[in-house]
Amino acid sequence: MLSSLQNAVRPKRDCPLLCKFFLLIWFCIAFSALPAHPEPTENASLDDAVRELAERVASIPNLHGPVRIQFFQDANFASDTGKNWQDTFRQEIEKHRLAISEEPGASLLRVGLSETPTQLVLAASARVGEKDEVRLVTLPRSTFRAANLPVAPIRVERQLVYQSSERILDASSPWNGTEEGMALLAYRNAELSAIRLDAAGQVTQTVSLTAAGARASRDPRGELIVHGNDAVVLLAGKSCQFSWTAAAEAKCHSAKPTWRSSTVLTPSCDAGGWKLLADGSDWTTPDVLQVVPDGSLREGSAALLSDFPGPILGINGEQNPASALVVTRNLRTGNYEVYKITLACGN
């Protein structure tokens, strides 16, 4: 009845502005997601729950309007949901022909939205006669999805291309420049794996590196380097090689890794290049991607900043000079997310 592991989900909505290629990917993702994952979106789920609560409140026996609504909302939750749910509740109450008033003398209806460790709780309480009538509607917190992330500042185009509840260490772009899709270095059920995804975000191949000796680690460092059919995985103190066509022959050995140097993107209008930097030192706070001009003569020039919803865990721009993949952990949803970063010119 219950699925214990949550598989990767594809992004709900993210509209690229530049590249038809990603527009195509997005459509593929969107269309493939619809039948396979009928998960409610955050707003749909919360809205449904708000409507249900309003309906149940309106049907409380002997509760007559007008009512004065007093809302309660967890402070840390307010920034995520805003007050849309309150508007929805008001509208629904009025739809059920229960008048709303601001008059102090009107019956008090207290309504709250709270977050517990596992649930979102919508609660309403009204005094009817000598009795408090209470109605509660709950929904699993895990169905909650943060609202769409703010659009990145102009000139730094950011597109959410993949998200998963499973831990992602690194992401690599298409390996031959034309093939669509992505490769991930991620943990699946505590097993370190290299995963190939097609353009629709579907897993096409999983190579477990545990059998080859790559044990689970708390260290967030890990790099996946893909060259054609061959791949190299760098871990703290270990290096693994395998071929996608002979995945069972993956081999790992102890090695001091040479981590990739800073990612430099070269937009078509600036041959000088821009370096992508992130702090990444604190996994408990959101990070800022800094895009600074590359080259000693240009250091210190104005940098572009792009806020991320969590710590930036990896930046990989090896496969494509114009774009990079950034792995982050969304601190609101807990999902690991992969963003495509492209520098836009002339904006």
């Binding site: 009845m1 219950l2 214990s4 592991l5 949550q6 309660f72 967890d74 207290r110 709250g112 709270s114 977050e115 517990t116 460790p117 596992t118 649930q119 979102l120 709780v121 609660a123 309480s125 408090d132 209470v134 109605r135 509660l136 709950t138 699993p140 917190r141 895990s142 909650f144 509840s165 059920n189 505590a190 044990r215 689970a216 680690s217 708390r218 260290d219 967030p220 460092r221 703290a236 800073s262 370096k275 930097l277 992130a278 702090d279 990444g280 030192s281 604190d282 996994w283 408990t284 800094q290 600074v292 000693s296 250091e299 210190g300 601190l331 609101r332 949803t333 807990g334 999902n335």
Partner: protein
């Protein structure tokens, strides 16, 4: 000339920025393995045997914090409301939530290198599970059968005492967690001053083979029984990395610019009526006292805003509906109710005696405040300190008490299980049964409402847990229940990283936990 000088300054600044800024960004990016994390706790002793923990006790919370270093649970709850695999990798249940199946992680090992088995899990959990739950090993996991519908089993298993361990023949316990305990030193007389005791120490060493990965620090050195003020001083001068701070010292710690972390309010301080004194069972007296209590002042003045008024038995973060309960201070109503009572009750002939658990000055202060509030409603309350009984001594002769100020620590992530445990603690067995049957939040609310209306227990304030953390401690996080995740912590600077050889050298010395 001036222009040239400015240009030079600008060039030097730009060069410094170019050199330092990216260097800083890169230098702090990666976590660091090694080092010793020094932790000081005020409790004098801990038990790492979950079978010995008393549900709801403050001591159990301290035990749980350290036990999480050594043991794992079947599942965990992440910060986003999702259950994550731990020692169980898959789980399922029937439609009635009565039959649960868990598949165990293959390859998980105890700290002595032996494999975790289904039998280990069943043996560890059975004595910990509430009555009505039966666990049995299966081919690749365990099965839990419940007599009643138990939709909140995962919440229960992901919190509290539901750790997996193996009891060895010598009484030690083995765990699969990120650390194992290598040394346990009891308090010993100080050489300089034999009348004083050197505090107890616990030394945890990183488990290289932990299934979730080796922890970052090599060693966690825990000192027990350090007085709170000395802990703060030690943190200030860099002699320790993590301390626990009592609520009444949080303000001081913040004034000293210490980094202070707080959990959700996880401890309830409440009054319970005991029927040992005549007249205490009179609902009018209970209601009068309830109306007389000034919870806002207790939380905001007495506890300096480091606590929260408690309107309900369960905190808002756990139930989601606590805001619906009020904290009705109404002195006029309290006096009115009191005046309707017989004159010889609660102050007429003998005062209402309030027993205070001797767990610190805070409880005594709170007890005194209760007495002041009660007096305002013409109810006489006298504090009686609760001392440990010594055989054949004053305990037998001590006067009966009608009130008890107690602390309750929320152990479970399941509000239903928590309310049930609290009802058991209050000896309202009928209530506990009702709670056990209700998986519906409205029924849970109704049950809590009923318990509050009975006024056998009057919630006062909710206390978070506070910790002081040294600046070099990185990636400090805590579970939704407040449990510290020390395996993920790393030290940015500090003592040179001790080699992994040290970590492994202690392995053969002591692999188990002596309860």
């Amino acid at each position: 000339m001036r222009c040239t000088k400015s240009l030079w300054l600008a060039a030097i600044s730009a060069a410094l920025f170019a050199l330092l800024a990216p260097a800083h960004l890169l230098a702090t990016k990666h976590p660091r393995y090694g080092g010793t994390l020094r932790v000081e706790l005020h409790v004098a002793a801990v038990s790492l045997d979950p079978r010995e923990w008393k549900t709801g006790s403050v001591a159990a919370a301290e035990n749980e914090k350290l036990a999480a270093l050594v043991y794992d649970r079947l599942v965990t709850l992440d910060d986003f409301g999702r259950f994550q695999p731990a020692l169980a990798t898959e789980w399922s249940h029937d439609a009635a939530f009565k039959n649960w199946q868990f598949k165990l992680r293959s390859g998980a090992k105890f700290s002595d290198g032996s494999a975790l088995t289904s039998k280990d899990v069943a043996t560890a959990l059975q004595p910990l599970l509430p009555s009505g739950l039966q666990i049995s090993p299966t081919e690749n996991g365990v099965q839990i059968r419940a007599m009643r519908t138990t939709p909140d089993l995962l919440e229960q298993l992901a919190s509290g005492r539901y750790f997996i361990f193996r009891a060895q023949s010598d009484g030690t316990l083995l765990g699969t967690g990120p650390f194992f305990i290598a040394e346990s030193t009891p308090p010993t007389p100080s050489e300089a001053n034999p009348s004083a005791l050197k505090p107890a120490h616990l030394k945890f060493i990183a488990n290289e083979d932990a299934w979730a990965g080796r922890p970052f620090v090599d060693v966690i050195d825990v000192t027990l029984g350090e007085p709170a003020l000395r802990q703060i001083l030690n943190l200030q001068v860099g002699r320790t990395d993590i301390i626990d701070i009592p609520p009444d010292l949080v303000r001081k710690a913040r004034q000293e610019n210490l980094r202070v972390w707080s959990s959700p309010p996880d401890t309830l301080l409440a009054l319970r009526f005991d029927d040992a004194q005549p007249g205490v069972s009179d609902p009018r007296l209970r209601e009068a006292l309830d109306f007389a209590l000034d919870r806002e002042t207790m939380a905001n003045v007495l506890l300096q805003r480091q606590a929260f008024p408690a309107p309900a038995l369960l905190p808002q973060w756990l139930s989601g509906y606590a805001f619906l309960f009020g904290t009705p201070m109404n002195l006029d109503r309290a006096r009115e109710l009191r005046s309707a009572l017989p004159a010889n009750l609660a102050g007429g002939i003998e005062p209402l005696r309030l027993r205070v658990d001797a767990i610190g000055d805070l409880m005594k202060l709170l007890g005194e405040r209760v007495a002041v509030n009660a007096r305002q409603a013409n109810i006489s309350v006298q504090l009686v300190s609760h001392a440990s009984p010594s055989p054949g001594s004053a305990t037998a002769a001590s006067p009966a008490t009608g009130l008890h100020l107690f602390a309750w620590h929320y152990d479970s992530l399941s509000p239903r299980a928590e309310l049930q445990a609290l009802a058991h603690h209050l000896h309202t067995e009928a209530g506990a049964e009702t709670v056990a049957e209700s998986g519906d939040p409205e029924k849970l609310y109704a049950e809590e409402r009923r318990l509050l209306d009975e006024r056998q227990v009057l919630p006062l304030v909710l206390l978070p847990e506070y910790a002081g953390i040294a600046p070099n401690v990185r990636n400090w996080t805590a579970a939704p229940s407040g449990e510290w995740r020390l395996a993920d912590v790393w030290l940015e600077t500090g003592e040179p990283a001790s080699s992994n050889a040290e970590a492994t050298s202690g392995r053969n010395a002591a692999l188990g936990v002596h309860p």
